[in-house]
Amino acid sequence: MPAEVVLSPGDTAWLLVSSALVLLMTPGLAFFYGGLNRSKSVLNMMMMSFASIGLISILWLFYGFTVAFGTDQPIGDTPGFWGDLGQYLGTKVLADEMAFPPFPATPIPTYVIMAFQMMFAIITVALISGAVSDRTKFAGWLVFAAGWFTLAYLPIAHMVWGGGFIGGKIGALDFAGGSAVHINAGAAALALAIILGRRVGWPRENFKPHNVPLVALGAGLLWFGWFGFNAGSELTADAITAVAFINTQVATAAALLGWIFVEWIKNRKPTMVGASSGAVAGLVAITPACAYIAPYAAVLLGLVAGSVCALAVSVKYRLGFDDSLDVVGIHFVGGWIGCLWIGFFATVQADGGAYVKNEGLVYGGGVDQLWAQFQGAGIVSIWSFVIALVVGYLVKVTIGFRVKREAELEGIDIAEHAESGYDFVPSGGSSSNGGSAFALAGIGGGTTPQAAPEPAPEAKPSQPANV
């Protein structure tokens, strides 16, 4: 440990705020996904995100952080796949070790670094759930989440950010998670869409979004939180943080425009779902590149990512996999675009040479960085896909990964959680089956009220009835 590192209150405060911002992205994602889903399965969709907050936070504390960010365990001279497993193990009493001295090479307490990185692990797992809406057994999701987090997220985060193979040996750059978060989640999403199979009736039946304002709310919260995700990834608050911040804004803005322009030309109308999706595609694409490129290159990146992803979301119909909410079309494709963009547009003018060692093709740096980016993204894609396929298959053949057909048709919210997202009956009290045939057929209607539980006998008769 360097003896004379001084804790920086400003940097520490910034990273604490950034951590909270990144946490907010996961409830934002729950709204985004929930609104895109059908009303009968909105809660299950949101639960998969919220459960990720619950589960991954605990796993991260106990062993996730040390696997991903413990001192690299090289294989021979080559940077390896995981960190020192004992270094930050969460069963220790960590006050001295964790609070101060700070995390290596930062003026920030290790606890803050741990909290910040925890939020990334949470949202990466939650992102996958968009591929499997309407049909996933909740218990199966939890087991998959724990398994994939352990075998895919942790080693990949270590390889990309923890001084491991991809960052340390190949030299691929990924500032805030284009590969470690988005390609990672997107590849796993493709594997799960294959393992779980198509929803009953897909793509013939009507799977249109049930609540577009909820989609917009979610996209807005994601955008807001993403400043913590990208600018926060500098950890400290300095000039590079500022570059990452402005690039995040302009790339997202350009991607929003790019997506709705494609819609305007292709489908004649620009849509709110398109504007929201375009913003998310831009946020994804700028994530790996935000500290390494000039703002004009970020605008170009946004335009490309927004318009390419707008077309990519239709590919699943041709290939026949039911990636329900387009995790592949947006996160996998957008992540790849952003990672490769570094190979074209990375410049020391953006970060003063702090991270960029080889400039991109456009700046006369040749193809070295582009090749490194390709290898990095490729390793993450394959690793994540294979692990998700294996873990997903094991869940499928043991506890089961998909609900019964009847549960899927009648609504997974009732089958898995015994609650329903909406109840507009004036008298209140939804029926035990959670919605009328009218509601299930997409025709608004009431429910049959059931007898409420008997009130406690000592309840005063003068009290108004509890509705």
Partner: protein, 112 residues
Amino acid sequence: MKLVTAVIKPHQLDAVKEALQAMGVSGMTVSEVQGYGRQKGHTEVYRGAEYTVEFLPKIRVDVLIDEVDVEKVADAIVAAARTGKIGDGKVWVTPVEEVIRVRTGERGLDAI
């Protein structure tokens, strides 16, 4: 006695209601319904996928009247509901055998 039933555009309900009130029709029943005629539905596009929405929201108005008023009432509804655009709806008339006022037990024209 006749039952006049109209399926109209939701926005025209106020106009139809006022026209009926102006001619002294003493009551009506309205319900939210969905359907399509020659108009068919419309198309929505989400993330490049087209969805055809066939059943459009409409209002159904049911009015019980003395059969001598049938022409007058039907014409008034048609005049009030018409926008001239496709999807304005339909009006039809069916014979009614008996009407009973629940509170008093009055029957026939007295119950209308």
